[in-house]
Point group: none
Chain length 189, copies 2
DNA sequence: GCTCGTATTAGTACCAGATATTATAAACAA
DNA sequence: TTGTTTATAATATCTGGTACTAATACGAGC
């Protein structure tokens, strides 16, 4: 063992990171990846307090399942809080470390993605595409903050919709965008 | 059995709805809820083609994980082909299945992310944020296509840059955007 | 009544991916 | 050499199933 980092500690640290990235791996998979026995992996998980693969998967699923479950939206970024199809939709997104740059600022495309996917969800049509968008970032968003976006359908001309999205952190406007959405196919009802 | 609805059919229909609402229930739970034996539930699931609870949970988890996954790709989305700091940058991105919706169209925020991250990369400064953007999607992009984006710095006013991005598939314009980028800190050199 | 057919329930063997525990081997330091 | 940590192995047990076979219940038709 010895000074700075025993191979055990290193492996356990990597294991933790690995499972954060991909919680779907079984102990068997992990044993192969790390070149150790299954029992060693189990001991490591025990030491680190990491639950078994099925519980990990369940946690991921439950987290995602929290919001309003109206449409099939693996598409949506963030958690849908409220929706009135064709009128408005609200979602919340927690800023995790994968979303920020090395300087701690949320990358703009993350806020854009939340807004854009919400604009898609609010339109009552099977297929919805973005035609164009104008977005403005009002202030940087930081790690750990909670962004609440609200999309409102403003006008509709045929298959074309104007959707406005406002995103706030603690009631503080951080992002504003106008999306022209197009629903090329027939409407749902 | 008889006329309109046999009790079996009714139960199976309800079972299906029930699991859509709550995929986390075991056969044991379901047997209790419906007041039938576990075996009956299993037969029903078999008839309806509904997988076991662990597979249902896994599906929910994977769907949710795919969403965050697609923007998790590090700082730059796509592969940088060429760059002249402060002038232009070119990147290429292969459209993989995580990037497309169930209808096979690339989600707009993916193209936005490629463009936006390229606009950040082209500016010669430590910290770069997007101030605002105007984007236009010219035609849908499909699974398997290869998107080449080119970002060009048009003008600069102090800490503010205007970057124009054009993305093409087979020399066919699919996306066009103007980004106002801000580099609030001191420049790199 | 009896018989046929569907629906339901029961029982058994097996599987994946674990937990929990005990035993043994290897690696190395004092 | 002796002791300690680390790794591996082996075994019993658990959950929530699949897959298959067998037994039973229930109603319809005659």
């Amino acid at each position: 063992m010895s000074q700075s980092q025993s191979p055990k500690k290193i492996r356990q640290k990597k294991l933790k990171e690995y499972l954060q990235e991909n919680p779907f791996l079984t102990d068997d998979d992990l044993a192969e990846i790390f070149g150790v026995s299954v029992q060693t992996i189990r001991l490591d998980r025990l030491a680190l307090g990491i639950p078994e693969v099925r519980k990990r998967i369940k946690s991921v699923a439950e987290e995602a399942f929290g919001g309003v479950r109206s449409l099939d939206e693996g598409e949506l970024l963030g958690k849908l809080l409220d929706i009135e199809l064709g009128q408005y939709a609200v979602s919340v997104m927690d800023i995790t470390k994968e979303m920020v740059s090395e300087h701690g600022h949320v990358r703009g495309h993350v806020l854009y993605a939340q807004a854009s996917s919400l604009a898609i969800a609010v339109i009552d049509s099977e297929i919805v595409l973005t035609g164009s968008a104008r977005v403005r970032f009002k202030r940087p968003v930081l790690l750990g903050e909670k962004v609440i976006a609200k999309a409102t359908v403003k006008t509709r001309k045929g298959a074309s919709y104007l959707v406005s999205v406002h995103s706030k952190v603690d009631n503080d406007l951080v992002f504003k965008g106008h999306f022209i959405m197009v629903a090329p196919e027939k409407k749902r009802q």
